[in-house]
């Protein structure tokens, strides 16, 4: 399965040219698209919050409001926030849609996200011990990790993590730096101090809590409990959705993992190769792609994280052809099929033993 050095170079060249083709045509259409998504997000957030208060007319309005707010939060989290923070729209030089300025409607501070997700996860994708997104330090997803008693109930842990996903994401960097618990790891170097991490964590978290559970209920007057519950439900729906999408990207059955040693000094071609093996796609209609922030094309996202995501489905066809040419496995399937393998993996490794994840290199 292993490619030769020449093949890796050729692979890098072909994938680079796929990227270049798209880069050259970035322009008005992309700007119009992301502004339309942003407008949709704003309109559904505003109308959702208003409809929730109108729930006294009929609870159906409240329910519609909750769904609209959840939609707004999902769009803000996925198609807008995640992608803007990757710098996909930096070229627009826009006052809102720039990775340096954008802040999103979730508990995680945008700066912390950029360090843990954009840097750690995207650089060291699926390298055991380096990419803490592989199991988030909570779940045992392959026999590369020693079984512990707590893994026995990791099905429940997974459910809890999914329900509180935004807080997991927010706490991710503090956990890595052992800010509150555990012994500091000597080999971890952080760009920011522990006190800055704490400030960002508590600051952003408090703002989110006050907004959804104090401010909006307060201005709703007698409808305060409806609004509070509605906001809770909208956040829950968003958490479950994002967690599900993200788990489908890296923890499906045939996904590959790597060891730190084999990735030492890898070439660009090898990096591309690792990104293709370490990610999985799922298929679906356009609206599904948009709701996932096009992370349904996780492979393309990992190959080209800073290309505006709406191009991924078209690029996927080319990438799949390239994968076939070099006999590189290309992991894709329907949403349900992919998700069921994720769920089975979580369940299987809650028990001791099991096979080691497929090593790639």
């Amino acid at each position: 399965m292993k490619l030769t050095t020449e093949q890796f170079t050729a692979l890098a060249h072909e994938l680079d040219s796929v990227k270049q083709q798209v880069q050259q045509q970035l322009g008005d259409a992309d700007a119009r698209y992301i502004r339309r998504v942003l407008l949709t997000q704003r309109l559904s957030a505003l109308s959702g919050r208003i409809l929730m208060v109108l729930g006294f007319i009929t609870p159906w309005l409240w329910l519609l409001g909750v769904l609209l707010l959840a939609l707004a939060k999902i769009l803000d989290n996925m198609e807008i926030g995640h992608n803007v923070l990757h710098g996909q729209y930096d070229w627009m030089n826009d006052p809102v849609l720039h990775s340096k300025r954008y802040e999103w409607d979730i508990a995680c501070d945008a700066g912390s996200w950029q360090r843990t997700h954009n840097f750690e996860h995207h650089t060291y994708t699926n390298i055991i011990g380096k990419d803490r997104d592989f199991g988030y330090g909570l779940l045992r997803l392959s026999n590369d990790f020693r079984w512990r008693l707590r893994n026995l109930w990791q099905g429940g842990t997974y459910l809890l993590l999914s329900m509180l996903f935004q807080w997991g994401v927010s706490y991710h960097e503090l956990a890595a730096q052992r800010v509150f618990f555990g012994k500091k790891k000597a080999d971890r170097h952080s760009q920011v101090s522990d006190s800055e991490l704490k400030k960002a964590f508590f600051g952003k978290g408090a703002r989110q809590l006050i907004k959804d559970y104090v401010f909006f209920p307060l201005i709703a007057g007698p409808m305060w409990l409806w609004v509070l519950c509605g906001n809770l439900l909208a956040n829950l729906l968003r958490n479950l959705w994002t967690s599900t999408v993200i788990f489908c990207g890296h923890f499906t059955k045939e996904v590959y993992v790597f060891s730190a040693a084999e990735c030492e000094g890898e070439s660009r071609g090898q990096w591309y190769y690792r990104q293709m093996l370490g990610s999985s796609n799922f298929t679906g209609p356009t609206w599904l792609h948009i709701l996932t922030g096009h992370l349904s094309c996780q492979i393309e996202h990992h190959l080209f994280p800073d290309i505006p995501a709406r191009h991924y489905p078209a690029m996927a066809k080319q990438v799949q052809a390239i994968a076939a040419k070099y006999a590189i496995p290309y992991n894709t399937g329907s949403f349900l099929r992919q998700y069921s393998t994720v769920f089975l993996r979580i369940m299987r490794y809650s028990l001791p033993g099991g096979s080691k994840a497929v090593k790639a290199l």
Binding site: Q23, L26, G27, D28, A29, D30, A31, R32, R35, L38, L39, Q41, R42, L43, D76, L85, H86, G87, D90, W91, M92, N93, D94, P95, V96, H98, S99, K100, R101, E103, W104, D105, W113, Q114, R115, T116, H117, N118, F119, E120, H122, T123, Q191, R207, K211, F215, D306
Partner: protein, 349 residues
Amino acid sequence: MLGNQSSLTLYLLPLVQRLVPVFLPGQYRARLLCRQWQTADMLQLSFKVSGRWPGFVPGQHLLLTLQHQGRYISRTFSICSPLSLWQSQQQIQLCCKINRAGEFTPLLNQLKNGAVVNISTAQGDFCWPQPATAAVFVAAGSGITPVASMLLSQRHGLAPVSLFYRCRGSENAALLSKLQQLAERQPLFSLTLSDSRTEPAETLQQRLISNSHAKQFYLCGPAAFMQHMRMALTNSGVSATQIRQEQFGLAIAAPAEHSAAGMPLSASFIRAGISTQVKLNPQQSLLQSAEQHGLAPSFGCRMGVCFQCVCDKVSGQVRDMRSGALSGHGAEQIQLCVSQPLTELVIKL
């Protein structure tokens, strides 16, 4: 806070822009009234400016922002029209040198009458204190624009003023007819054309030095031209406080001798948490180098005026392309568009 953006305006921006497509927070709208070629490459644009625009002091410049292929781009231009035009009709004029190979200025020639663009507040301290004192103005090429605004804004010419206008022949002298009319009207104003094709710079320097009893000098033009003029004036005993100047364009000098000759430099740009290694061209600004490698830092005027491209330098030394000033080696903020690399750099975008 409610919208997770720094202001409510930014949160509502997609809605506002749906209603008013060219709205940009912190900017003002200006509607193009007409375009007129002053010379073969100097295009004069007349704008009707939004009533909220706070006005300008003659000699100041502003940032003009356009949206082109989904992307906001801006350049700085000096206002060339008199204050009275704005006060009476809320109009301003810009005189822009069109660089046909450039990205921005050719777009100005494609603007239709009635098109709306964004302008910033007027900025800059290249101004002539009022009431007017005796002064000598030296302008070269497009450097005439702020000078013309200052001179044409004078209601009463009570102080002796002379203008030395250096250009490639009178056919390449923008705004010349207005200045000639002014010279006819105002006996205390003298206009001298200096043709760069026939008159060597030394002759102009001589003529300036013979004027060095004048109270104040105002220089505006390309960097090299101004360095020459400034040197001649200071050598003949004019103190530095008597000279005010406005630089057009950057003085992209050869990299200072500090960098080892021929040594290729590189920088790590940390953007959105990810570090990208970029080979640097020591002749280019860091902004250009970053853009050529597919990074997209925010930017504005690209000449060190608007401070939109300010970034944290973590380590390494840079040189200010306008003044030649050297930075320290440690952490500090730099403007990417006017910084040349001298050493290996680490920069947070």
